[in-house]
């Protein structure tokens, strides 16, 4: 063993690091892809889809990814964009913001023109600054008002924010139905906090103070204490701000404890995961605020649902639909820029006025495209539209 050996090895490491850095810089330079960067003008157009493929949030992530894939495959079958195929790489963030930031750096350094996802607001929030610096447009499925508050010119939402969901919900519950005794339970994760703040604000503008305002953790399993406190107030409505599985557990335990209130909440309550976790009997009659009330709303949703069923042999739902909308908007924008990314692509996305599955998209400068939701009810285990009176 010569004493020089470790020295030489460290030289090699330095050389390798330097090479990597150089490559990274090159890739970062060519990513905006205005004119020069040879690699980005030929060959496939690289789009990253970041979603949880494992972990507790993976059901969400997989629905989203299915919607994205469907849209990309349609375009590839029709010949791609300017003769270039779209290469879709699915990256697993495990629903974890730390994994997300690592993926954001990977996306920035490996020549992706755009990113679709994630379904988790917390992950998108963590990734947004890196993607903004790298000028990579991101169409997210998150709906936290914090996303819109960033006002990043490279961040777009494929659905309304919690503010819209909850304003529509409060309007229905208080103005239309005349409920005044409303209790709230929400988790302190990014989604739950957004729902909590938005719904409470909507109640306050109607001069309604919630009877109870219980906050739980996203990982909580036993809600006896919170739900008993709520039961003592005997509310007419129980608002839930939590993801699918936790919402289901809360409702199951609420009914076991004898809480009879009408259950109300955002998009998670419209999913089969919520209904099976809560039990169909317990979920019956839940009021759901959602921009996508089912597959039979119009011809576009029917066509989407049929294509989805053919591709995956399961029923389409909201998350697949909004991810599909987001991917379609990106593809339309890419067509306009001829496959180029960067600022040009971000501007093109802002200009897309898609009449989508979720409604009419018109992006404002906070990156929100859809500005309305509808009210649906869980009936016999499925989501049906509440007939507008």
């Amino acid at each position: 063993m010569s004493p020089h050996k470790p020295h030489r090895r460290s030289h090699r490491v330095w050389a390798a690091t330097a090479a990597c850095l150089a490559l990274g810089v090159l890739a970062a330079c060519s990513a905006p892809g205005d004119t020069g960067g040879g690699a980005s003008d030929t060959g496939p157009i690289k789009i990253a889809n970041v979603n949880a493929q494992s972990g507790q949030l993976s059901s969400l992530g997989q629905w989203e990814t299915k919607g994205v894939k469907l849209a990309i495959e349609e375009v590839n079958k029709a010949g791609g964009i300017n003769g270039r195929t779209i290469q879709l790489d699915v990256l697993d963030d495990q629903g974890d913001p730390t994994v997300g930031t690592n993926l954001a750096r990977k996306i920035a350094s490996e020549g992706y023109v755009a990113m679709l996802g994630t379904a988790e607001s917390a992950v998108t929030l963590a990734m947004a600054p890196i993607l903004k610096d790298a000028k990579i447009p991101n169409i997210t499925s998150g709906q936290s008002p914090k996303l819109a508050a960033l006002k990043s010119p490279f961040l777009f939402l494929n659905a309304p924010t919690s503010v819209t969901y909850d304003e529509t919900l409060a309007k229905y519950l208080v103005d239309t139905k005349g409920y005044k005794k409303i209790a709230m339970i929400s988790n302190n994760g990014t989604y739950g906090t957004g729902e909590h703040d938005a719904f409470k604000a909507s109640l306050q503008t109607r001069n309604v103070t919630p009877l109870a305002d219980e906050v739980v953790t996203p990982d909580q399993k036993d809600f006896s204490a919170n739900l008993t406190a709520i039961r003592q107030q005997d509310p007419e409505v129980l608002f839930i701000g939590a993801e699918e599985v936790e919402s289901g557990l809360i409702v199951k335990q609420a009914r076991e404890l004898g809480v009879k209130a009408v259950i109300a909440g955002g998009a998670p309550l419209g999913t089969p995961v919520y209904v099976t976790t809560a039990g169909a009997d317990n979920a019956e009659g839940s009021v759901v605020s959602s921009p996508y009330l089912g597959n039979d709303v119009n011809d576009a949703t029917k066509a989407f649902a049929a294509a989805y069923k053919a591709a995956y042999n399961e029923e389409a739902e909201l998350h697949g639909a909004k991810a599909y909308d987001g991917a379609k908007i990106l593809l339309e924008a890419l067509k306009k820029t001829g496959g180029a990314g960067g600022q040009a692509l971000a501007d093109a996305i802002r200009g897309v006025g898609r009449n989508g599955l979720l409604g009419q998209f018109a992006y404002d400068d906070s990156g929100v495209g859809v500005h309305a939701t509808q009210i649906g009810l869980i009936k016999a285990g499925g989501l049906v539209a509440e007939p507008t009176s």
Partner: protein
């Protein structure tokens, strides 16, 4: 008062499951001096096996749990057999080995059942029992009875059977036990199998209370482990008490401290083991390196 009692009831329902998980940790620890970090993942495999056999296989629920106990018992035997060459040689590698097995089991579950998980309908259809406004889930009663029965059976096995006493002997002094003709490897294998069986029982029982997914073992494992520590690691009655204490603490913290409950629970846990490092029934008899 009503909130207090209802919270207590809810805490005991989940505490019984934590107790079962803690018992699985303890039986392996008292026999081998080893913390089986794969235990949470074995709970998850047990939950999946039981729920799959009862939902897709249409087996009656108790039978499905029995199948799950056999399946995870085998998993326990495999883990022990793979780690056996390290026994008495490299303890740290054994620990890391169990962590590795945990990851492998999680990946296997994703391969077999997919990453999304499924909800399990309650096998007991009866409405909750209502005593003076306190509602007790009938299913929680079942869980508590089963957990109590498992504890009694385990205690009888360890104290009244020759095999059980031999296991205790092997735990206290493996060399002396070998000298009098006790097969230490077999004793360890039985401990692992029993631990895994308890995990399946816990997982099978908690399936209908929660949502079965590949990552469900994570928090159950940590809470079960903490419960075992609080009770006095390696002590079976301690595991029961620790499990119930942890469930109740968890439940009350949720009501009082709302979003900070998890933080408060583990701060209380940390303070408790600082004051009494050996737990409630503290006798850390086993210390093998």
């Amino acid at each position: 008062m009503q909130v207090f009692l209802q919270t207590l009831v809810g805490g005991i329902g989940f505490g019984a499951v934590y107790a079962l998980v803690a018992m699985g940790f303890s039986i392996v620890y008292r026999t081998m001096g080893l913390v089986n970090f794969a235990h949470g993942s074995v709970v998850m495999i047990g939950a999946y096996t039981a729920s799959t056999f009862s939902m897709a296989g249409r087996l009656p629920f108790p039978l499905a749990i029995a199948v799950a106990i056999v399946v995870t018992g085998l998993v326990g035997l495999i883990i022990e057999r793979v780690l056996r060459p390290l026994e008495g040689r490299d303890f740290d590698l054994m620990l890391i080995g169990t962590i590795g097995f945990g990851t492998v089991l999680e990946a296997l579950a994703i391969l077999i059942w997919g990453a999304t998980g499924h909800a399990v309908p309650s096998p007991v259809a009866a409405a909750p029992v209502d005593i003076l406004g306190i509602r007790i889930r009938t299913y929680s009663l079942v869980v508590i009875v089963v957990a109590a029965a498992a504890t009694v059976l385990l205690a009888l096995f360890l104290q009244r059977t020759k095999r059980g006493v031999a296991m205790q002997a092997a735990a206290m002094d493996p060399q002396a036990a070998t000298a009098v003709g006790i097969h230490v490897g077999r004793s360890n294998a039985i401990a692992f199998a029993i631990g895994a069986g308890l995990a399946a029982l816990a997982g099978g029982l908690i399936g209908p209370m929660l949502y079965v997914s590949p990552t469900m073992g994570g928090s159950l494992g940590i809470k079960g482990f903490a419960a075992a520590i609080i009770g006095g690691f390696g002590n079976i009655p301690g595991a029961i008490l620790g499990g119930l204490a942890f469930g109740i603490l968890d439940s009350f913290a949720a009501g009082t401290f709302q979003g900070y409950s998890e933080l408060v629970v583990f701060v209380v846990f940390a303070v408790a083991i600082m004051i009494r490092p050996t737990g409630i029934f503290g006798e850390r008899t086993v210390n093998r390196a």
